[in-house]
């Protein structure tokens, strides 16, 4: 069963907060991981792996570069779940 967009956003926000200290409320669909949230590539890889564990999906390395915004990541996870 596919996860809801709201559930994935809330779960992703929690992971981002734990990894970077960014407030969960700042993790919104239109935010760019690099330009808006200032998340570096090392943190991004940790976030990706934690998302795989949390949502039970596989996010291939070649896909990660396409996940520029929080919305990109949420939509990918929803469609892969």
């Amino acid at each position: 069963m596919a996860l809801s967009q709201a559930d994935v956003l809330a779960g992703l926000a929690e992971i981002v907060n734990e990894e970077t200290g960014i407030a969960a409320s700042d993790v919104q669909l239109d935010k760019h991981f690099t330009n808006d949230l200032d998340i570096d590539s090392i943190s991004m890889m940790t976030i990706v792996v934690n998302c795989e564990d949390k949502f039970g999906v596989k996010i291939p390395d070649e896909e990660v570069k396409n996940l520029e915004t929080v919305g990109d990541a949420v939509n990918f996870i929803v469609s892969a779940s």
């Binding site: 734990e18 990894e19 970077t20 200290g21 090392i42 943190s43 890889m45 940790t46 792996v49």
Partner: protein, 413 residues
């Protein structure tokens, strides 16, 4: 030395306390920071030594969750100590290019490395944290401290086992004397109370096995000493040129009068029994300080509580100081703190600085039956030091035949 150098800030987190004030108070009260380890790995791996000197205040109680996730425990201790020292020095205003860091560790990020190997074996390479490399590298603590205070005048890590952070302080002298740098954050840290290092040190019979009396296990100079006790934590000193310190109206604890490094080239772990390398380091330090042996009133000895090491250091001391050694108040503070390995020298440098600044020598505990072969005036209850100009040295020696010594002098303005 051409420029006078001074200590203007100190910071530490140790088995005795989470900062310098609490550590120093517990030290003067003759407390022990050593206790039984409440860890499931002790039983799981049948680790033969069941105690150590754990940080009195866990780093996780001081740092943010993100800091603890992105820094190895050794770097966490470094950051805590450096922040305290920097604040204690009055947060000096210094040009980033004229601020440098000399911060050591003996072992580096051993928890990170071994946790990552466990992750690899259990969950595969994709689950190995991307931060593993910067967390495990031995220069990680120095780099973390450098970033925190925007030090752009060079950030270095000297690794020489248990002499590491005394060597860091000696290196600070060179940087400051070069004229390129005004302020150095110097120190050391260690976080190696992990089943592998504990088992490895135990395998070489370096550790005390006094499992039923942990607080009595670290007993330098006692006839019943049976090895050292591992400790963890970090310590940092802010060292600057007198000119820079005075210009900003800084409080000055003591003068960093000299420091020297020599090597034995004798044996990978055993000290040269004649102590000639250690003696050369002490003499060279005194020469740099423009002092004679008669000027030394206090020694914070390396004295780890191993049967061989304490004697070798005594031989070196006798060789350097001759009969004057009988007039020197010697202390072995590892009796209280345990042995912080790469952090030990910086912790003991702070104790030496405070001994001079407050004119009181902290005690050596657990010296119930002094070894008759070691004829030293060991301080066992806090002892006042005389007024007037005084000089003290702090010794550190490490596996690999490393000898490092620093000297501090009362600051007379």
């Amino acid at each position: 030395m051409t420029k006078k150098l001074v200590v203007t800030g100190v910071g530490a987190t140790t088995p005795l306390g989470g900062d310098v004030a609490s550590t120093w108070k517990a030290l003067l009260e003759g407390k022990s920071g050593i206790s039984t380890l409440d860890k499931d790995w002790i039983e799981k791996y049948e680790v033969p030594v069941t105690f150590a000197g754990q940080a009195a205040v866990p780093a996780s109680e001081v740092l943010t969750l993100q800091e603890t996730k992105r820094l190895d425990p050794s770097s966490q201790f470094a950051l805590i100590a450096a922040r305290e020292a920097w604040a204690d020095a009055g947060s000096p205003e210094v040009s980033p290019e004229r601020l440098s860091v000399e911060f050591s560790t003996g072992i580096g990020g051993v928890w990170t490395l071994l946790d990552a190997f466990d992750t690899l074996k259990e969950r595969g390479p994709r689950r190995v944290l991307p931060m593993t490399v910067p967390m495990l590298m031995p220069n990680g603590p120095a780099a973390a401290v450098g970033m925190e205070f925007a030090a752009r005048g060079g950030v270095r890590t000297s690794v020489s086992a248990c002499a590491s952070s005394t060597e860091a302080i000696a290196n600070a002298i060179t940087r400051l004397q070069s004229g390129e740098i005004d302020v150095v954050i110097a120190g050391g840290c260690e976080a190696a109370i992990h089943p592998l290092p504990v088992s490895a040190f135990a395998a070489m019979h370096a550790l005390s096995k006094r499992n039923d009396e942990p607080e009595k296990a670290s007993r330098p100079y006692d006839v019943n000493r049976d090895g050292f006790v591992m400790g963890e934590g970090g310590a940092a000193l802010i060292i600057e040129t007198e000119e820079h310190a005075k210009a900003r109206g800084a409080r000055i604890y003591a003068e960093l009068a000299g420091g020297a490094v020599t090597s034995d080239a004798y044996h990978i772990t055993a000290p040269d029994p004649a102590g000639s390398g250690a003696a050369r380091a002490m003499l060279s330090t005194l020469e740099q300080a423009g002092a004679t042996i008669a000027d030394v009133v206090h020694i914070n000895a390396h004295a780890t509580s191993t049967p061989v090491g304490d004697i070798a250091e005594y031989n070196a001391l006798r060789r350097v100081f001759g009969d004057h050694l009988d007039n020197i108040a010697v202390t072995a503070t590892k009796s209280s703190t345990g042995h912080l390995l790469g952090g030990a020298g910086a912790v003991e440098a702070i104790f030496t600085v405070l001994a001079i600044h407050e004119r009181v020598v902290p005690p050596t505990i657990n010296l119930d039956n002094p070894d008759p072969e070691i004829k030293l005036d060991v301080v066992t209850t806090p002892r006042k030091l005389a007024e007037g100009p005084i000089l003290a040295i702090s010794n550190s020696f490490g596996f690999g035949g490393h000898n490092a010594v620093v000297a501090f002098r009362s600051y007379e303005g």
